[in-house]
């Protein structure tokens, strides 16, 4: 599957058309979706029409920029006018969006082609994509395993070549986790940068919208289009020589699968070899991250779902309903304590970044878990899958710092690992420069396409 960059070059060289590439994606969907369950809705007719229009516009000299004619998929939390936004839940039966979410409108203006809406963990409230009224999405690299979540169908759609990029949402790691599990790139921009209007919320305190793509540059192109600035000049890669990276070892490296740890250390060594300065930092309140996250996300979600939990509780999948019910018992005083903890964590991450270009840590402590597993063995301990999967990503939803997951090699059994980079608040473009630098100069041994089905 070609990248968006390559697509753009070949499109403008008249070697391909949007209609041809869109048709390729639709054929992949038809062939592989029964196995992967990545899509809830395939918008084949609409996509073909959009692609033909894109080709006509380009032929007439109207070039809308890097997203012109690019087939993308969209997590089924975003409103696309005239289609249902199901949130993978029966609670949303009968919903039809009256207008595009602003992010969708921006992509439409930028000439993107929407091939369909992707499967997710119900209401984005989970990390495995198992609790969906449409059934679980599956990992293209091993369909017995989860693609991660909650944007699991989105990640699977790109990893399987069903779309060149996709839109996800992220409340505790739901862009970076599936990106790491499926071997692609996932970008969570700085909090509040990308509009979440027209997207079904989980926690308005933590929700972010952002892209998953095959490369950091592709993620950058989609990110700028989401901002309504598709024509922005992409940032230049930051030279790795002299790059200052900080590793928050305590807590973040305490609980890692052996192979994930090995890939991470190898990545750090590659970065050092090409001149990066890698030092350790400590976040004093790291031990409170999970508790602070849980109290806020539970209460926020319970508030949004209060009415439907009362009137139609049986329309939720059982695990998601129970998690939402749990949020109704969070006391206001504990919620406020957690908000105070959020401020402390934000200051600590700001301080850790003060002398560094980025934090660097693994994205997922484990490779993609088997579908149906509720616990996972990590080293000598057995841990709940959900807790482990959120462990390294949720902090940056709490604090709002931009974060990106890059592919970082594979386990012996071919499952991808992810490398997470975290930048300063409000400086997503600087983080992208770091990511472009690392991807280009340091991660060349771990092509995002290695081992991909249909890649």
């Amino acid at each position: 599957m070609m990248t968006i960059e390559e697509f753009g070059r070949r499109l403008r060289a008249r070697e391909i058309t949007s209609a041809q590439v869109t048709e390729d994606c639709l054929q992949r969907i038809e062939a592989d979706n029964p196995r992967l369950n990545a899509f809830i809705l395939v918008m084949a007719d609409e996509a073909r029409r959009q692609a033909r229009d894109a080709d006509r516009q380009l032929a007439a000299g109207h070039d809308l920029g890097p997203m012109h004619g690019v087939p993308i998929s969209v997590k089924d939390l975003y409103d696309i006018r005239g289609t249902a936004t199901t949130a993978a839940s029966r609670v949303r039966d009968g919903h039809i969006a009256q207008r595009d979410a602003p992010t969708i409108a921006h992509l439409r203006q930028a000439g993107a082609v929407f091939v369909g809406k992707t499967n997710l963990h119900e209401f984005a409230f989970g990390t495995t994509n198992e609790d969906s009224v449409f059934g679980p999405a599956r990992n293209p690299l091993d369909p017995t395993r989860s693609p991660g979540g909650s944007s699991g169908g989105s990640a699977a759609s790109v990893a399987a070549g069903m779309a060149l990029a996709t839109l996800g949402t992220c409340t505790g790691g739901s862009i970076r986790i599936p990106a790491a599990a499926c071997g692609i790139v996932g970008l969570k921009p700085s909090y509040g940068e990308v509009s979440t209007e027209g997207i079904v919320p989980l926690s308005r305190t933590f929700d972010h919208a952002g892209p998953l793509a095959q490369t950091a540059m592709d993620a950058c192109l989609v990110y700028h289009a989401l901002l309504g600035d598709a024509g922005a000049v992409p940032p230049a890669p930051m030279p790795v020589k002299g790059m200052r990276l900080a590793v928050p070892r305590r807590y973040f490296c305490d609980l890692l699968d052996d192979e994930v740890r090995a890939r991470f250390e190898e990545a750090l060594n590659r970065l050092r070899d090409v001149g990066a300065h890698v030092t350790d930092v400590d976040l004093r309140h790291a031990g409170e991250i999970a508790a602070i996250y849980l109290l806020i996300v539970l209460a926020d979600a319970a508030e949004y779902h209060a009415a439907t939990l009362e009137t139609m509780p049986d329309r939720y999948t059982a695990p998601v309903r129970l998690r939402l019910e749990m949020g109704q018992y969070v006391l206001a005083e504990d919620y406020v304590r957690a908000l105070a903890g959020r401020c402390v964590l934000r200051r600590e991450v700001d301080a850790a970044l003060a002398q560094h270009d980025a934090l660097v840590l693994p994205t997922l402590p484990i490779p993609a878990p088997s579908i149906g597993a509720t616990t996972v063995k990590v080293g000598t301990s057995t841990e709940p899958v959900r807790n482990v999967m959120l462990r390294l990503t949720q902090l940056f939803n709490i604090t709002g710092h931009p974060a990106i997951s890059l592919p970082d090699g594979h386990t012996a059994s071919g499952l991808p690992c992810g490398l997470q980079l975290v930048g300063c608040r409000g400086q997503t473009d600087v983080l992208l420069r770091v990511a472009l630098g690392c991807e280009r100069y340091a991660m060349s041994g771990s092509s995002p396409r290695s081992g991909r089905v249909g890649g």
Partner: protein, 69 residues
Amino acid sequence: MGTLGDSSGVLMKIDAWLQSAVADAERRGLPELKPLLEALAKTVAVVRAADFNQSPVANRQSSDASRQP
């Protein structure tokens, strides 16, 4: 600061909250919430024990200390 979660009174308060929450869940026909609420109680204890919490006593002590010559 730093002693709030160690106070037996506060820990008892979490116990009382948990008992009440479990009873309410059972009354509503959701007994399967019990283990989740027990886990939530541990989470609450972590946040209440954190040293970023403030109290009038801790603030006063801190303020008083700052006024010492």
